[in-house]
Every structure is written in C-alpha cells, then in structure tokens.
C-alpha cells in the first residue's frame, strides 16, 4: 500500500562553503508521526542540512518539498510558514528576554490596541509550559536560567504554534541522562499526535530508542540508511566508519598518594560543606543533573570562584587560590565546559590557543618575556600529537576546527607540562562518538601519567566509562560515592534523580 506524500522530502541537496563540500547529494524523506535520526561525525554536515531546512542557508543544488509541494526556503520565515520548527545546535536565546518573549520572537504577536498583548502571550506560553516543563519560571530572564531550563525554553518555543515538522539539532548534548529522558518523553507525546521529527545527536542509543528510521552522513554524503530492527547503535557506528569495539574501561589500580584534599569547603552553588580526596593516577567522575553544583566545585578548586569556607591541600600543603594564576602555579590544570563561550579564542590561531596559559615556559631568556617561536611551535606540535589533534597548520584559526578537535585543542594547553590535578568540566560535550573515544583515551593517559583527574559530566555513560569512583551530586551536595566495582547505570540514575530538577 503506497504511503501518503511525505510531510518533508529533501532531494539531492548539495552545499559548499568555499572549498568545503558540506553536503553532497543528500536525500531524505519524513512522514508525519515519524521520528528520523540523523547521525555522523563532527563536521559531517548535519547542522548544514538542518540550516538549509530552516532557511538559514540556501542549497547550491537540490529541492525541498513539504507535503508533496515544492517550496523555496530562502529565509527562516519561509521555513516557519511551511510549518517547520527548528531548535538549532546551541540555539541562541535573547538573554534579557524572559521565556514568553523568547517564544514569540519572530512569531505573530497577539495585539491589543495596536500594542503587543503581553498577557495573551503569557497565557499561551504558560499553557504549553505547564504540559512539558511545569517548573519553568517563564517570567524570568533566560540569562538567569540554567542549561536544562534553557533547553526546555527552546522546546516550548518550538511547540508554541503547532508546527508539522520539528527539527532538533543535538538537543540533549548538555543534558544528563535523566533530563534527556524527560525531554524525550515530551517528544514522544508530540510525535504521537502526528508531528514529524528530525533528531540529530551523537548519543547513538538515543537514536535507537527514539527513532524509527535513521540516516548516517559521512563527509556530507549519505553512507547508510536504517530502519526497524536494522537500526542499532552498532550499525550506525559502522556506517560512520568506526568500529563497534566496546570501549575500554579504565583499568583497576591501587591508589598511591593523595594529591588533592578538600575539607568541608563551601562555595557558590554548593549547598553543603563538601569534602573529597583525590589520589594521583585516579579519575573521579562527578555526575549529576544540570545545576547540581559540580561546576562550582571545580571553579573553587581552580580559583575562579571564591571559597566561602573550608580548606584545601595539594600534596599535603595548604592551597588557597586567589585566582587561577595561583592554581596554574600549583600544578592544577583546567578544561572549562562550553568551549565556545569560556574555552576557545575562536579567531586566534591554534598555536595561540594551545600555548597561552603556559607561555612563560617558552621565554627566550628568563628575564625576557618574549616567547621563542621555534620552541613554542615545537611544543605545540608535540602537544597536538599527544592529544591526537587533526589540523593542517598551526596558524589556522581555532574556529575552523571541528567540535571534537576544538576540544582536543583545549586539552593540548596542558599537555606540555606535568600537572598534579586535572579539572575537566563536560570534556566531551557535543563531540562525536569517535572523537569522544579518543578524548577519553587522552584522559586515561593523563591519569596514567600520575595526574589526579576530576571529571564533571552529565553523560552517564561517560561517568561509567571513566570513573574509578563516581560522586553523585544533587542540589549542591554529594549524595553518593560509588566505587567502580559497584557501579550500575540504574544505581547512578536513582541516586541522581531521587528528587526533581532544581526549581528556580
């Protein structure tokens, strides 16, 4: 029996940026009530495809049809009018606006006496929010919301006025497993009502769980299509050109000496005094829901967040950093979360990015604060090799790297010295599965070299794959300390989630 016209049909799409072929001859069909997964490595062209559908980019070649009718999508407005609702990767919101105003951006406003009718807007938003995120403070400026709340703002916006097609670009990259679950629960309801969904994610198990069909992109071209029982995480990985070897776990080892000791510290979002001790060569994973206080703990150790009370020692000697400068001196290294906002200098060269915090090491002479270029370059090449950075020139701009490589670049900053303590905040967020494995290997190697490593992660699999111990955070407190021998996914989720998401 022939199916009805697909609600969205892409045919033969191609798009180049200068010399980069971001997409070549990509076709895809989507039926109502269907969830379609789109996967591929960093830079495979997923976001480009979505931006074409959203009217941000125009294809060089190819056609788009909505419900059997060919449409030209030249601007975001055209996509909106065709019933397409998009949540872009890292979709920006207007920070000064509250949820209500953000939701109505670019939408027809209800009016009264020629003025926008804020109370009608609020009512409409509140109706949707009540269903999908009852705790969301919709009158608060979104700049004051946390990562997961902001993601739900985007979802409310996308669902505000009955689109037929929902396109989501890595919507769960910054969410924990439990929050992702909540997100997908909402999606499932929407899909059941007949909305068609395109989902991009690097978490392949999500595709397998949520989608009935999937398309794999490699270097801008379709390399595989899967549906039904063929659709497994393993099949996707092999279509991406990776192998499905189960990820190596950190080998068991016996702790040697304590590098970092926290005694009853309080800072920022930590609700209770927190103690913790980290051995050299040990990886401790900090797992918890978004906003549970892990970043604040790392920042306190790094010296970028003020310590309210408590003591810290490094290798037994007291440590009380007034700023990150002290932390660097004492052998602490740090990879911040959100590489675009807080990590990278996107318009600077790779070399610039890689050597910045330890520039003193390359001085021409002790008294001359001028880096020796040869030594600096050599150090960069070595560091890049040790983290497996793929690049063509030390002078290319950091923004030209793929997401995974950008993350490796930040790691390479600390690769030219021996640190005592490594602080890693969401080190593999938004990184494709192959690069993710590479990054985890780098982290293990760092531990093997004798670092004590603290990894904050919202990715349950990552906590399980990396941690010798896993500390579970909830509402600013450590609620569980689980050694690797006893760890199971369910135990983690139960511990993390036994109370609902932090309310505003």
């Amino acid at each position: 029996m022939p199916r009805p016209d697909p609600v969205l049909a892409l045919e033969g799409l191609g798009k180049s940026f200068g010399a980069t072929h971001a997409l070549r001859d990509v076709s895809l069909t989507l039926h109502s009530g269907e969830a379609h997964g789109l996967v591929g490595h960093n830079g495979a062209g997923k976001s480009t495809l979505i931006k074409i559908v959203a009217g941000v980019h125009q294809p060089d070649i190819g056609t788009i049809s909505v419900q059997g009718v060919r449409v030209d999508i030249n601007a975001p407005v055209d996509a909106y009018n065709a019933g397409i609702r998009v949540i872009h990767q890292d979709a920006p919101l207007v920070g000064d606006f509250d949820t209500v105003d953000n939701c109505y951006l670019g939408r027809p406003y209800p009016r009264r006496w020629g003025m926008v009718d804020k109370s009608a807007m609020r009512a409409a938003v509140a109706a949707i929010a009540k269903e999908i995120a009852p705790d969301l403070p919709i009158d608060r400026a979104v700049a004051l919301l946390n990562t997961s709340q902001r993601q739900f703002v985007r979802l409310v916006r996308a669902l505000l006025d009955n689109g037929r097609i929902l396109v989501l670009d890595e919507p769960t990259a910054a969410l924990s497993a439990e929050e992702s679950q909540r997100f997908f629960d909402v999606l499932e309801k929407v899909r059941a009502r007949g909305t068609a969904i395109v989902l991009v994610t690097h978490r392949l198990d999500e595709i397998a769980a949520v989608c009935s069909r999937a398309t794999v992109l490699v270097d801008g071209a379709v390399s595989g299509r899967f549906e039904g029982s063929d659709l497994t995480a393993g099949a996707l990985v092999s279509a991406m050109g990776g192998s499905e070897s189960p990820e190596a776990k950190t080998p068991d080892r016996t702790p040697t000496s304590t590098v970092l000791e926290l005694g009853q510290i309080k800072a920022g979002g930590l609700a209770a005094p927190t103690s913790l001790s980290l051995q050299s060569g040990e990886i401790v994973a900090l797992y918890g829901l978004v906003g549970s206080g892990r970043s604040d703990l790392l920042n306190a150790i790094w010296g970028s967040e003020k310590l309210a009370s408590g003591t810290m020692t490094i290798e037994g000697t007291p440590y009380r950093p007034r700023s990150p400068i002290d932390a660097v001196r004492r052998g602490v290294s740090y990879v911040p979360s959100d590489r675009h906002r807080t990590g990278l200098f996107e318009n600077k060269s790779l070399l610039f990015n890689a050597t910045l915090p330890l520039l003193r090491r390359f001085r021409m002479a002790d008294w001359l604060p001028v880096p020796n270029r040869q030594r600096e370059r050599k150090a960069f090449v070595d560091a890049a090799r040790s983290v497996g950075l793929v690049y063509h020139s030390a002078d290319q701009l950091a923004r030209t790297l793929s997401g995974g490589n950008q993350q490796k670049l930040i790691f390479s900053r600390w690769a030219h010295r021996r640190s005592k303590v490594m602080l890693l905040d969401e080190p593999t967020e938004g990184v494709d599965i192959v690069a993710k494995a590479a990054l985890r290997k780098i982290i293990r190697d760092m531990a093997k070299d004798g670092n004590g490593v603290l990894v904050s992660t919202s990715d349950r699999d990552e906590a399980l794959a990396l941690g010798d111990r896993i500390l579970v955070f909830r509402l600013g407190t450590i609620v569980a300390d689980i050694p690797r021998s006893q760890v199971t996914p369910t135990a983690l989720s139960t511990a993390a989630q036994s109370m609902e998401i932090v309310a505003a």
């Binding site: 959203a54 009217g55 941000v56 601007a75 975001p76 407005v77 996509a79 909106y80 998009v86 872009h88 979709a91 920006p92 919101l93 207007v94 920070g95 000064d96 606006f97 105003d101 953000n102 109505y104 951006l105 670019g106 939408r107 406003y109 009016r111 020629g114 003025m115 926008v116 400026a141 700049a143 003020k306």
Partner: protein, 311 residues
C-alpha cells in the same frame, strides 16, 4: 531595602543627593520653580538626541552623526526661511534630511556591514560638509516666523513647550520599545542578533528603520534648538554628541544587564543637566566645574558598581 538594592539604584540615589546638595547650598534658587523650568528647557535638546542614541545603542550600534544631523536640519530649515519659504515646507524638508542621513547610516551598517562607528562618522562628516556649504559658514536668522520660534519657547499650562517635546519623545520611544512589535524586535536584535536572525526577524530592515528614526529625532532636536535660539550656526549640534552618549552610558548603570534604556538615559541627561545648572548657580569656577563634572559622574556610576560581585 537591602544593601544590594541600594547599590542597584546607586546612580539614582546619587542624582537625588546631588539635587539635595544644590538645593541646600542655594536656598530658594536651585529648587525654585523658575529653575526647574530652566532645567527642563536646558536639557530638552540633549534629551532628544540622547533618545536617538539610546535607540541605536539598543540594537548594539553607535551613531556618531547625531550632532551633525541636528546641525544640518537646522541649517536646511533656516536656509529655506531665508529664501522666503515658510514652515510647511521648511520643517518637513529639514526632518526629511535627518531621516535620509539616518537611512544612509542604516544601509551602510546593515546592508554592507560597515562598522557603525566608521559609517556614521563618515556620514556625519558628509552631513557637516553639507550644512557648512548650505549655510555658507554664516549665522542664519533671517525671516524666522514667530510661529516657528514658539515651538521652542514659552509654556503651556506652566510647563515649558520644550519640556513637553522631550517628554513626548522619550515617553513615545519608551512605549514603542516596550510595547510594539517593532520595539520587541529592536530589543531582540540588540540582545542577540544571531537569535534574531534565526528567528526570522527582518534584521536588516529594522536596523535601517532604527537609524532612520534616530536621524529623524536628531533633526527634530536641531529644529527645537534653532527655535529656542532663533538663529543657526552650522556647527551648533556638534557639542551634543559626547554628552548624549555619556547620558546613555550613565543610564546603562541602572540596568542589571547594562542594557541601555530610555528611563536610564533620562536619568543620565538629568544628572549632567543638574550638575552644570547647579554649579553655574553656585558660581563655581569654570575649570573646577569641569573637573567636578567628571568626578561626580564617576562617583555616581561607582556607587552602582561597588555593589556588583566581582566578575
């Protein structure tokens, strides 16, 4: 009221302290009705130009042509008067001149991506050359109709006409920004232009319209200044530029996110206005006056910023 709230309104409190100080130092003068009327008239043109600057800063850009445009519109109007034309032609053409300059600014910035600082400075230079050429470098005061002068003088029900003008302009602009679709869009563009673009807002058009409005407001300010003084020199609007932006920036200290706002700008205009007025009344020496102006502005914004947590 917590200490944080105190700090939050530091700039406002500084303003009140300033007024109180002047009122106590000059009994019956600074706080007299006559002086309030003076003050309102004195700040009117600055307030309107500062409102234009606020609009442009709301979209995250600069407009350095405001003062030059004010001069140009005054020159256009008075050259037409001198040529025997009347207000019904002169005023619309003068305002049109301002809006055309503003549109040019907007096109350069949003269509061609020229940094607004250099685009508006270049357009401002062209505009000032035009004003110079049209006026022939001379002072213009011929054939000015009394009806025109009345636009910038006298009072209605005790409120000076000039004050009515600037209050109307500021209230109107505040309303447009807060309550119309255009205003929402403009704020979104300033808040996050990428988000605005992705949401499908007509960013280019709105930027051009914003600059055009700013040009129109600057032109209005020029006309009112001309009406107040009864004569026009081709450089008369230039001294408005820096004080206008100073007012906007003083105003940004009132917002938790540092965003410009019409209300904040009004405060900024009043602070600078009261400072000069009060010190002149007290007969402070010119150079001390200038130094005090800097010091007090610094103290006013510091009061606000002391309260912020370290970044």
């Amino acid at each position: 009221m917590t200490l944080t709230t105190l700090y939050r309104y530091g700039t406002l409190i500084a303003f009140f302290l300033l007024c109180l100080g002047f009122a106590l130092a000059s009994p019956g003068v600074f706080a007299s009705q006559a002086n309030v009327v003076n003050l309102l008239q004195q700040v009117a043109t600055l307030a309107i130009v500062a409102t234009a600057a606020t609009m442009v800063m709301t979209i995250g850009e600069f407009d350095l042509s405001v003062g030059f445009v004010a001069s140009l519109s005054a020159v256009i109007c008075f050259v037409l008067f001198a040529g025997g034309y009347d207000m019904t032609l002169a005023i619309p053409l003068a305002l049109l001149g301002g809006m055309v300059s503003g549109t040019l600014n907007g096109v350069m910035v949003s269509r061609f991506g020229v940094p607004s600082f250099v685009a508006t400075l270049a357009v401002g230079t062209i505009v000032s050359g035009l004003a110079f050429g049209l006026s022939g470098g001379a002072s213009l005061f011929q054939n000015v109709p009394d009806a025109f002068k009345a636009l910038g003088r006298g009072a209605i029900l005790g409120v000076p006409v000039l004050a009515l003008w600037f209050i109307a302009v500021m209230a109107g602009t505040a309303l447009v920004l807060a309550r119309t679709e255009f205003g929402r869009r403009v704020q979104a563009i300033g808040g996050n232009v990428v988000a605005a673009r992705l949401a499908g807002l007509p960013v280019m058009r709105d930027v051009i319209v914003t600059f055009a409005i700013a040009g129109g407001l600057s032109a209005l300010a020029g006309l009112l200044l001309a009406a107040r003084l009864g004569s026009v020199q081709h450089t008369m609007g230039e001294p408005l530029l820096l004080p206008a932006y100073a007012a906007v920036f003083i105003g940004t200290t009132m917002s938790p996110t540092g965003a410009p706002s019409v209300g904040g700008t009004l405060l900024g205009v009043l602070i600078t206005g009261v400072l000069v007025n009060g010190m002149t009344i007290m007969g402070v020496e010119p150079f001390v006056q200038r130094m005090m102006t800097g010091v007090i502005i610094l103290v006013a914004v510091l009061l606000r910023h002391f309260g912020r947590r370290d970044p």
